[in-house]
Symmetry: C2
Subunit: 408 residues, 2 copies
């Protein structure tokens, strides 16, 4: 949680962290500023101290809504620094960083650098910081970072938002099912009352609208039919009409409008009826899903759940990423991942992961089977929450029927 930052900094030997707020998506800055609407900025904190937000003078008003202490670059003399640096923006930026760190009372030491931005710029800035500010060491971090670790445990406010997004997304699943079910068959084509074929593009449009009506935004949903569903990340072809007996993989992972917390869930729907091999694969994915839920124990290694699912699929003759690294058929992805401000967070549910199932974490559970050359893929995904008491609570609230019956 955000309240754990000091302890997480101490474990990393960090005297401070500095989050660079480049323009564009910046989940760590969002996390630290409670989603304040700032175009650019810096968030920094000395271990044991308060967060300080540094922004352009034009951003002060919006930045103040974060509830954090805010000052402007101008207050720190950035304009003069730019002049003194005679156009050397990197040198000026380095001096600005020195003044920001001095402002939080840090005259030297180990500073962790975080945030999201232009790689070409920040590898140069990192060099300039090291060259111009010898009193400090500026360190990056890979693997499970400070903010990855903080975000694993959701606080009450985060959980409330995640629950709300879950409830609204579940409503959209229900509305989408009903929308398709309101169509009928003409030959093997799904058509409306006017006899017009229902395309994947039209379904996605319906879904985006249903999300929008609930202050949610799509972040590139998957609605992939038949062979396309056999590729886990294929988005589906907008122009393609829905057809009877085709399995559709519908993976929906919207977030709060304007950026914020996500939900992540997947259903596989076979339109009108299910081909026997699709039904068989579906039953086995459902078995795998149940095995994962039943095998769950709080604080267990996440890989244990993935290995239980891999063992089940391997026992039924399916290749997995463990038995056949790099396979593009069978079960080739991880069992799930943490979900929050980022759609993919820690913990990782890969068989190579060293993460555990911590209380307070929100995780997707999503086994699947993929056979593009046989014309189908199957995936089932719920978002779950690990309660303080160690119990697993399902946040996705929609049934798991395979066959979506049409009118008449």
């Amino acid at each position: 949680m955000r309240s754990d930052l000091d302890g997480l900094m101490e474990r990393r030997g960090l005297d401070a962290f500095l989050v660079f707020g480049d323009e564009g998506e910046n989940p760590v800055l969002y996390y630290l500023t409670n989603g304040a609407h700032i175009t650019k900025g810096y968030a920094l904190k000395r271990r044991g101290g308060d967060l300080l937000l540094v922004v352009n003078a034009m951003e002060i008003e919006e930045a103040a809504k974060s509830g954090l202490k805010v000052i402007s670059e101008f207050d720190l003399g950035y304009a003069q620094l730019l002049q003194a640096a005679e156009g050397d923006q990197l040198a000026a930026a380095a001096q600005l960083v020195a003044r920001m760190l001095a402002r939080i009372g840090l005259e030297g030491g180990k500073v962790g650098v975080y945030g999201r931005g232009a790689i070409n710029y920040f590898v140069q800035l990192h060099g300039a910081l090291s060259a111009n500010l010898p009193a400090y060491t500026f360190v990056g971090e890979s693997g499970v970072t400070l903010f990855d670790e903080a975000a694993i445990t959701k606080d009450a406010e985060e959980l409330a938002r995640l629950r709300s997004v879950s409830a609204r997304t579940s409503e959209v699943l229900r509305e989408t099912w009903d929308f398709i079910a309101g169509h009928r068959l003409q030959g093997d084509l799904v058509v409306n009352d006017q006899g017009e074929p229902l395309t994947i593009g039209a379904v996605k449009r319906f879904v985006r609208r249903a999300l929008f009506d609930r202050d949610l935004e799509d972040t590139d949903m998957i609605f992939a039919q038949g062979r396309d569903g056999g590729f886990p990340h294929s988005r589906g072809e907008a122009a393609q009409p829905l057809r009877a007996g085709q399995a559709v993989v519908f993976d929906l992972f919207p977030r709060e409008l304007g950026g914020g917390y996500h939900h992540d869930c997947t259903r596989t729907w076979s339109i009108g009826y299910a081909a026997p091999e699709v039904q068989e694969a579906y039953n086995q994915v459902m078995d795998a899903f149940e095995i994962a839920i039943d095998s769950f124990r709080v604080n267990m290694p996440t890989r244990a759940l993935q290995e239980a699912v891999q063992s089940y699929f391997e026992a039924h003759g399916y290749p997995t990423s463990r038995s056949h690294p790099g396979t593009t058929v069978g079960y080739m992805h991880s069992l799930g991942h943490g979900v929050g401000i980022n759609i993919h967070e820690r913990p990782s549910l890969s068989h190579l992961s060293n993460d555990i199932f911590a209380p307070g974490s929100v995780i997707s559970i999503e086994p699947g089977l993929y056979y593009p050359e046989r014309g189908f893929g199957v995936r089932i995904e719920d978002l779950v929450y690990v309660g303080g008491d160690g119990q697993l609570i399902t946040l996705t609230d929609f049934h798991k029927e395979l066959v979506l019956p049409l009118k008449g």
Copy 2:
């Protein structure tokens, strides 16, 4: 343009570039892959060679839609590299980069690194690349980068998309004006036929819906009334009702649904009537706008236009960022910026800029005056295109009336 990449690489002495495709917004990757829906990936190119896209095996199908040559990390032996590195992901990533560069025929030389991603990770990876791959030099870039420079000149397809977004955004301006004009006054409150006050939140909701209906998405519009409008980046208070005689700064900068090209325009509307001081400031901003348009010449330094506007405002006794660096009143921002896949691109129209107005560029022109303590701000912004013949073409198609009259 994309077709200029080889020349731009040569001018920088780059033998190749490597774009890291971290998860999340990544404009350069979007630019190179024609907006392919890939969660993560690498795009790299040897000078004189073709672009190569390297993605996770699950992404191959979507990546192929870019029309580029695509291979998977697995094809390059990433799984074995991870095993060999015994969990040292940075070392494995460095070896993967070596194999990617070898695949495009580069055994050594100067490689520019670009893209958008987690700063903490990429400063570490940059170190690992330098340490593990001595045959190569991996360089960042600040200032006007390779891709900044390429993006300044829009090609025919980009211009067509920008024109389409412009036309649709202009329709939304018109619909929003008509929506507000359909209300009436009750005292100084703007109310609907049921007598319910019209809030800024309700207007923004109307705008987002109107954008959505045109396959556009809001990227955090500004609709700021009265004092809030006096802060250039204040977004406006959702709960605030619209009031007669208040000036609203409405800055709309949507993009193609799912990410893509932007439009950027601003209007200032005074509801029902305009206070004399607002009308006066508005007239002067309109004069400044005309001065900018009339002074424009193709290939002139962009700062010349900003200086003409600053001189006009200074002559009328207003502080500017030139006469009073760091001022928070008067005219404190730049005259505009390039617009494309990024809402803020080159050229920069600051008086400190060294950019020029190149044919084929798409630019915002947005003078303004800000007096929060007097309870108002004024800004006017059109998006313009510099034609191949050097003529300035306005892409925003909506009138610039200040007073928005209400019913009855």
